[in-house]
Symmetry: C2
Subunit: 188 residues, 2 copies
Amino acid sequence: MSKKGMSKKNRHSNLLERIKLDPFLTDEEFSELFQVSIQTIRLDRLELGIPELRERIKNVAENNHHKVKSLHDKEIVGELVDLELGKSGISILDTDDTLAFEKTNVVKGHHIFAQAESLAIAVIDASVALIGVANIKYKNPVFAGDKAIAKAEVIRTRGNKYFVWVFIKVRQVEVFRGKFILVSFNER
Amino acid sequence: MSKKGMSKKNRHSNLLERIKLDPFLTDEEFSELFQVSIQTIRLDRLELGIPELRERIKNVAENNHHKVKSLHDKEIVGELVDLELGKSGISILDTDDTLAFEKTNVVKGHHIFAQAESLAIAVIDASVALIGVANIKYKNPVFAGDKAIAKAEVIRTRGNKYFVWVFIKVRQVEVFRGKFILVSFNER
DNA sequence: TTAATATTAGCACCAGGTACTAAAATAAAC
DNA sequence: GTTTATTTTAGTACCTGGTGCTAATATTAA
């Protein structure tokens, strides 16, 4: 696989790459891969500050244990900073590159939509469903790193139907607005 | 924590639960938790077919290694089944309960939005950014299990600006429509 | 040719086990 | 109450994938 006549530096950068790609290999397997002794690999790891296999596996496991849970589609997108149930609410979404398109660094529109939708739902109650939207405008793209501030206001209630306006601004500039129509399910 | 006078059966079901909850504990820690010797715990694991700590961690790591990658916010939501670059495209999204609100079983609106958005982008090119939407209508909720079929059509091009209509239907009924305004970045 | 650097070897030790044998404690059956 | 069966402990040898250390070779540069 990998060549034999490889300089230390070369092997180091190569090792870093491979280990990021597949952290599940033992030192022995790496030593075969690079055609060096197991001690050399261990010395390399020591110099590069790469932990041993078990630690690496544990890190992957722990990272993802949390990540999956927190990433697993939050019920509310953004942080709820103010809420008057049935009236209004404010949420803040700190965007980063995980929410953006790689190529353009523009935050995917559905995250903005999700912030608005979940805020609209939170303002009424958790047990409502979105049945329609209207007058949505998305005028300016949001870039990774921008702080999106969403304000929601209930403008009308008709039976178990609710009409909620949501505005989202970044640096005082409106980037999104929309009217959400919600129905509550458990009419108690 | 756990009581001392616990029957074998009790301890077994208890162990199964705890280990599912937190697979990162050693036999020693479990033995303290249940106030039994470490050998008892090992016998228990043997009887219950529970692998050792390292195996458990490895399983979590491997599971999530895949999961996170596939879950990590796909660049395109739904499956692209037809595409005429610059003209039109069709994508299908098989929804399930992971995309829905727990309480209402209604698919979160932003997933529908994401399907539309990513299809609109795919129809033009990957290197475009959404800068606006208009005339969005979302008339009927989509339920977990529904198959959402999105059709996109480029209706106008002006310089590096593109206007794309997207319709999404479930069982021949329109659930979503919207006009997406995109700009391409690298005007080659 | 000598000095510096890189590589390999070998050993003791560690965590967290497996696999096995055997003794002691507890519960159930008679 | 005694015997039998079950459950719980104890202890040993061995395993993997290492760390941490010392020391001997190779290789490269001065």
